[in-house]
Symmetry: C2
Subunit: 133 residues, 2 copies
DNA sequence: CTACGAACTGGAGTCGTCTCCAGGTCAAGC
DNA sequence: GCTTGACCTGGAGACGACTCCAGTTCGTAG
């Protein structure tokens, strides 16, 4: 007999890296694909599916998708089949934003690396003078 | 006779993409390498050096360096020679953070790209059924 | 029976980064 | 001399994403 994994909010917090607060916040904001079940005493009971969904949400948030847009996407998924094109649009749009972000970040990285190089050379030259070379 | 370029706050805003508000805010926060000169009527007068410095600050901000840390760096530069090692530390630390950020962003991108691919295939398959294939 | 820890709720507070506002100054053009 | 537009100041407000608080309810252990 195989029972489905059931997790408390604390365990989910541990497993996802989100805080207990954040989990309740996400739920209130409507970015959980399926209603969270409640156990005895009204406590939240999460399943593996919830964890999987949360991990995706974390990825979207990490890459800068705002909560309201994650909600829009979530709502489409909740609605069920038939709106795949809209979901695709949201994802593609975000993909493009992430791409741009990566380009920008690379530019910043180039600048920083250049400056680090300059300072490193300078610091090294001072150090070698100090030992009399 | 070659006069130094002098710019009003509005012109700097145009050239850097920052808002006039943001420029005053940055100044108040102490992240301008040199005191901004004032023209007649107490108006700010910027030079090319200021623009260059601002562009670097924009890069640092874009890549997520918080204002207080940009201030620390700025203060070191204002202090003058002798603290290059500290400047280097700040830059190296930030460089590492940016590197991590890029790795994360790449992971997100991979996930999104995978999902886009799946939805794209699905949408295509629906479309081709619709024309009777 | 009591105490404890983990969970519950609605709502208030925090943090960082601007953004805007009210009220005022100044130079140039009509 | 009046208007217009760009600028000045200090301080308040906005926004997103949490984070924390007060007060309560459980279930289990001592």
């Amino acid at each position: 007999m195989l029972t489905v994994m059931q997790l408390s909010i604390g365990q989910v917090a541990e497993r996802t890296g989100l805080s207990v607060h954040a989990l309740r916040f996400y739920e209130k904001e409507g970015i959980l694909a399926h209603q969270v079940h409640r156990g005895p005493g009204g406590r939240r009971v999460y399943t593996q599916q919830d964890i999987d969904w949360l991990r995706m949400c974390i990825m979207l948030r990490m890459s800068g998708m705002p909560v309201p847009e994650i909600r829009r996407y979530t709502e489409l998924v909740r609605e069920g089949d038939g709106n795949e094109l809209q979901r695709l649009d949201i994802l593609k749009e975000h993909q493009e934003r992430v791409r741009q972000q990566m380009v920008q970040l690379q530019e910043c990285m180039d600048l920083i690396t250049r400056k680090v190089g300059i300072y490193q050379d300078y610091v090294n030259s001072i150090a070698s003078k100090a030992v009399g070379q």
